[in-house]
Amino acid sequence: MRFDGKTNKQRATAIKIGELSGVTVPAVQGSVATMRKYATPETDEFQDLAKAVFSEVMETKAVEESTREMLEPLLDHLYRSQDALWDANRDAMKKGNAEEVKQNLREFAMSIMTLAKAAPSDPSAYAYAPDKEKPSGWKLRIDTPAHISAAAAALSPEGFRGNPVEIPAADRKAVVARVRAAWLKAYPDKSEADMPDSLKKVNDMPENVNVEELQALAVMTDAQKAHYATLSDDDKSAFVKMSADERTATVDLLKTTEETYTTSKGVSLVKSALPAGVFEMLKSQDEDLMKLRGEQELQGFVKTAEADYQYLPGTALAKAAVLRDVAKMDKGVAETLTAALKAGNAAMKPQFEQHATPGGDGMAKSAQEEFDGMVKVHAKEHNVTMAKATEAVMATDAGAKLYEQL
């Protein structure tokens, strides 16, 4: 019976004969030559068989020599693991959980196999082996399905357990092709559609795609990407070759040395982080906006100046500018200054009212207006010039008093 459970025709490509045995009549008696797989032996017989196999191997000195180097880690692993294995299986057997026992054994066997194959000396077991004489430079084992899957993960931007493999861009395509081939061989029942993305992408990728650039962009921050977009081709290439830490340091350094602008809304703009021309445009727009808002704000203060501070000296616009500045001051200071200005305005008010003379329409007139009126009336009544009329009015008592007030 075949261990793989299949019945399709197969042909041996290699055989290794360990021993020749005398045997009793086989089940397929009558066949001149019939290959059969041995039936499940009785426990003792099977045990004897295994012992015999081990004895045979130990008699072969070449085997001893070829395995000596790997004995030490294997023995360490066995001694370290056996107690834990027995404990686990004892518990599982108490529970009557045969499946758990099997699973423990499988995992233990796999750990031995993994350890035994931990470091193949054949560079073909690796997808990347630039120098056949230097195993330390070999990367991405592809000798087992588990290693192939790990290699595919390492080729993805996320990496294997967070660690993407570092392969020179020039070699990457060939490396991925080797992993692809190994994957397809390891999983003959699966199609390319089932392949990990890291292996698919290269297959669909145009010839001129810069994989190194794509990988670098995949891990760049937005600020780094914005900075990258402003660089020349040569500078881009240098930026891509930097490590992640170097890119971060570069962009941070630029932030401290380059032109920045904070908008009226408090948004900080970094010139190098924006496409060309955008920084200037945003800055200009914000400045125009600020100016417009300032003008609108000033108009409000002009109205306040005209209404509340009309007796203070200066134009309404000048007083509005002062009021705007006062409004920006600390609240306590602003309130004190405002109170002072209002007090000053109130103090000035009587000075204007003191010289006012109620007119015919009931409105008060100033001394100047009254004096001028007297001059005009005199000039008209006596048909003289305004100068002679002024002299004449000043000669009168009333005119003299008004003139003193001017």
Binding site: M1, R2, F3, G5, T7, N8, K9, Q10, R11, A12, T13, A14, I15, K16, I17, G18, E19, L20, S21, G22, V23, T24, V25, P26, V28, S31, V32, A33, T34, M35, R36, K37, Y38, T40, E45, Q47, L49, A50, K51, A52, V53, F54, S55, E56, V57, M58, E59, T60, V63, S66, T67, L74, L75, Q82, L85, W86, L105, I112, A116, K117
Partner: protein
């Protein structure tokens, strides 16, 4: 017994043996060697062919160690598997250069060795002036050192030879 169960039984046995029965160094040496040196040769196969002659005086047993063709056609076994002549020749060459070990029922201590090994291929026979016999394979002559084993061959209890080892297989189109 299902194959999966058998495989698990084998694993269980090997681990049991590793940890409790055998000297650990020996077990690991074998296991490690098998894992590293023969990735695809993990199946343990046997080939049964009948004994042709027993010479108890010289403690020799002659027979076919393996048959690869019958009436000019490649021989597939009941599992639909075959071993081509060239593959068989390479395998037997290595065996001849090595231990040439003889056992009984693929178990226990060595019971002798195989001093005579010859490829009974048509082209070889013709080169020696011998007419092909309608069957090709490997002829062997085993020297049985162990009395019990020799007695079993002599009595007819053991009626054939069977090779134990491993093979790598490829699907036939």
């Amino acid at each position: 017994m299902p194959d999966t169960v058998r495989t698990e039984t084998i694993i269980l046995f090997f681990i049991t043996y590793f940890l409790s029965v055998a000297h650990t160094t020996a077990a690991v040496a074998y296991y490690a060697h098998e894992l590293v040196s023969s990735n695809t040769m993990t199946q343990y196969n046997e080939l049964y062919v009948p004994v042709a002659k027993v010479d108890t005086d010289r403690r020799l047993v002659f027979g076919w160690g393996q048959v690869v063709t019958k009436n000019g056609e490649e021989l597939f076994d009941s599992d639909n598997q075959s071993i081509p002549k060239s593959v068989a020749l390479d395998g037997w060459l290595e065996f001849a250069k090595g231990t040439r070990m003889l056992k009984q029922m693929h178990a226990g201590e060595p019971r002798g060795m195989v001093p005579f090994i010859f490829p009974m291929f048509d082209e070889v026979l013709k080169s020696l002036g011998i007419e092909p016999i309608g069957q090709e394979g490997i002829a062997v002559g085993a020297y049985v050192e162990d009395d019990e084993t020799l007695a079993k061959f002599d009595s007819g209890d053991f009626t054939g030879f069977s090779i134990g080892g491993g093979a790598a297989w490829e699907d036939v189109e």
